[in-house]
Amino acid sequence: MEIDGLVAVGGILSLALGICGIILARRQKDIIWNKMIGAHLISWMFISRGLTQAITSFTLEENLQDLQIFVDQFLDFTFVFSIVLLSFIFPIPFIRNKKQLVYAIFFLVSIAIIATFSIILNGVNHPLSMLHANVYIVTGTIWTIIYLKFRFMPGKEDDQEIQGIASAALLLNVLVVGYTWFKWTGLYTQSEFFYNQKISSLPGAANALHESQLYTDYIWTMNLAAASFFGLTMFVVELYRVFKQRGDWTSYLVIVYMVLGIFGQLIHGFESVENSSFRPVWELMTSTLHYTLIRPLLALLLLFRFGLIRIEDRNRSLSKTMSIILIVVASSAILEIIQSLIPITELVSAGILGLAIALAIGWEERLFNSLVSNPLVYPNHRKEYFFPNIDFESREMELFDRGLLISILIGMFLAVIFELVGVPAAGGILG
C-alpha cells in the first residue's frame, strides 16, 4: 500500500478547514442568510473533499480499488452539488426564497440519483454517471456573470464593497477551476496536452483508476475549456484594471495563474521537452499544488476576508487555530516539495528551512491578523434588490447540516454496499 503524500496532506487540510469551518459557522448569529448558508456549504464541501482525498491517497490492493472509486464518486456528489448550490446563493443570491432553495436541492438530489443509477448500470466512466462533472460550466458561468456585472458597475469602479462582490466571484472561480488555468493556452492552440486531459490525470489513486471514454472525455474537457474561458475573461478584465491602476490582490492572483498558464504552453507544448523531468515538476508545482493545498487556503481566505465567518471574541481562538493549522501545514508541505527539488542535501536544506522559520517567527499570527482585519461587507446599494430577507431558524440550519452529513454517510454506505455486492465500478452491471 502506497500513500500519495501530497493528496494526503491536501485531505488533512481540507478536513481541518471543513470541520473548524462548520463549528464556526454554527456558532454564528446575526449574519445574512446567504453568507450563513455559504459558510456551511464551503465547510461541507471541504469535509467531503477531505474525506475523499484522505481515502484515495492510498493505493490499495486491486480487490479494493472499486471501493475507492465508489467512495470518490459518491462523495464527489456532495462536493460538487455544494459548489453548485453555493453559486446559486453566493455572492449574489439567485435563489430568492426558501421554496426556490428546496427546488434547487431537489433538482441536485435528482441528478445524484440519476447518476447513481447510471453508475450501477453503466459504471463510473459513462457520460451519464459523470453528469455532475458539468458543474464548472454552471458555477463558472454564474460567477463570471456576477463578476463582470459588478466589476463594470458604472460609477462604482472604486467602491470597495461593490468590487468586493466581483472579487468574491473571482476568488470562487479561482478556487474551483484555478488548476485548469495552468494549461489554458492549449485550448486555443489546439494542443494535445489540453485536449487529452483525463479525469485519471487528476491527483489521487481513485482518479487514476478512471477509464477514458470518448464522450466522458469530451464532457470533461468541455468543462475545462469553459473554465479556461472564464479565466481568460477575468485575466483580460484584471489586466485592464491594473492598467487603470485599480488592480488589487485578486487581480494579481488571476494574472499570476494565467501567466503561469502561458509558461505552461511552453513547457507542455514543445516536443523536445516531452520526456523531460521538468514537466512532472511543473505539474506538481502548479495544478497538483492548487488541487491539494491552495484550494483550502483560498477557501480560508473566502471565509474570513469576505465575512462568511465573522471573527468575534468567542470564536477567535478556534479561528486562529484553524488558520494557523492551514497556513503552517500548507507552507511546510510546499517547503518540503521545494526541498525535494533543490539539488542539495536534506541536512543543508533543513538547516536553511530552520533558519527561515526562526527569522520569520510569529509570521503565521501576523498573517492571521491581516486575514481577519477589515473583512469586506456587502453594499448598502440596492441591498434589498440583491439580498432578499429570508429568515432561517437555527432548526432549519441544523436540518441543512444533517442533510449534508447524511449525504456523505449515504455515499460511503453505498460505496461499501456496491463493493460487497460486486457491482463493477468500471462497466456497471450491464458492462
Partner: protein, 228 residues
C-alpha cells in the same frame, strides 16, 4: 423592492447588457471551437485503459515469386521489387518480406568449389521498419548453403493475434491501417566471386558466373477487431 428582482433584469440591465452579450457570445464560440477541435482537429487519445478488451486477429496471405539471376564473376546484380512489380494493390498491408536465396555450383567442372555469394537488401527505397532488430538484411555464403533474408515492413507486426484493453478501437484501427508501409522500391543486391576449379589451368575450363535463385515471399495481412 426585492420582488422586482428577476434573473432576466439582472442580466439585461442597461450597462451590463452589452458586456454580458459579448461574454456569452465568446463563450458559445469557445465551446464550439472546443467541440470542433476535440472531434476533428486534435489527436485525442480516447479509450486509454478502457475496460473493453479487443482481440486483434490477422488474416494473412502470401505473394511469392522466384527470380533466377545470372551474376558474372566479380560483379553484382540487383533485383528490384515493389508493390507494382509483384502486383500487390495499394490497400493491402505488407507485414514482412522473406527471401530464400539458393545456388549451387553450376559450372559442371570436376571439383569446382562453391562460389562466394553475398546478398544484401539496401536499407532505403521502401518505407519499412528498417530499425527492427529482427531484420536480416545481408547474408554471405561460400558453401552453397541457402541464405535467408527478412525485412519487417510493418512496424510491430509479427503475425500473431493479440488482445488489449489499453487502446480504443480507433487507435487499433489507426495502428494497423497505415498503407504507406511497403510503398517504394526494394533493391536486393547480389555479389558473386567465383572460385575456380583446380582444372582452371586449362584455358577452356573456366567458372566465370553463377546462377542465383531468389525466392521471395511477401507476407500480407489484413486485420479484424473483435470486442469482448
Amino acid at each position: 423592492m426585492k420582488d422586482d428582482f428577476s434573473i432576466l433584469d439582472f442580466l439585461m440591465e442597461d450597462y451590463s447588457r452589452r458586456i454580458l452579450a459579448c461574454f456569452l457570445s465568446f463563450f458559445m464560440i469557445t465551446l464550439s471551437f472546443h467541440g470542433i477541435s476535440f472531434f476533428y482537429v486534435v489527436d485525442v487519445q480516447a479509450g486509454e485503459s478502457s475496460s473493453i478488451s479487443y482481440s486483434v486477429s490477422f488474416i494473412t496471405n502470401e505473394n511469392s515469386g522466384q527470380e533466377s539471376i545470372l551474376v558474372a564473376d566479380d560483379s553484382s546484380e540487383s533485383l528490384v521489387l515493389s508493390r507494382e512489380i509483384v502486383s500487390i494493390d495499394e490497400q493491402t498491408k505488407i507485414g514482412y518480406i522473406e527471401f530464400l536465396v539458393t545456388y549451387s555450383e553450376t559450372s559442371g567442372e570436376f571439383l569446382d568449389p562453391c562460389d562466394d555469394v553475398h546478398i544484401e537488401i539496401s536499407p532505403s527505397g521502401m518505407i519499412a521498419d528498417w530499425s527492427n532488430p529482427n531484420n536480416i538484411l545481408s547474408e554471405s555464403s561460400s558453401d552453397c548453403e541457402d541464405m535467408i533474408l527478412i525485412l519487417y515492413v510493418y512496424p510491430n507486426y509479427s503475425g500473431e493475434n493479440y488482445s488489449t484493453n489499453e487502446s480504443s478501437i480507433e487507435e487499433i484501427q489507426n495502428i494497423w491501417s497505415d498503407i504507406s508501409f511497403g510503398s517504394g522500391e526494394l533493391t536486393v543486391t547480389i555479389d558473386v566471386n567465383t572460385n575456380s576449379p583446380p582444372t582452371s589451368i586449362v584455358p577452356s575450363i573456366q567458372d566465370d558466373n553463377e546462377e542465383i535463385i531468389v525466392n521471395w515471399t511477401f507476407h500480407l495481412f489484413d486485420f479484424q477487431i473483435d470486442e469482448f
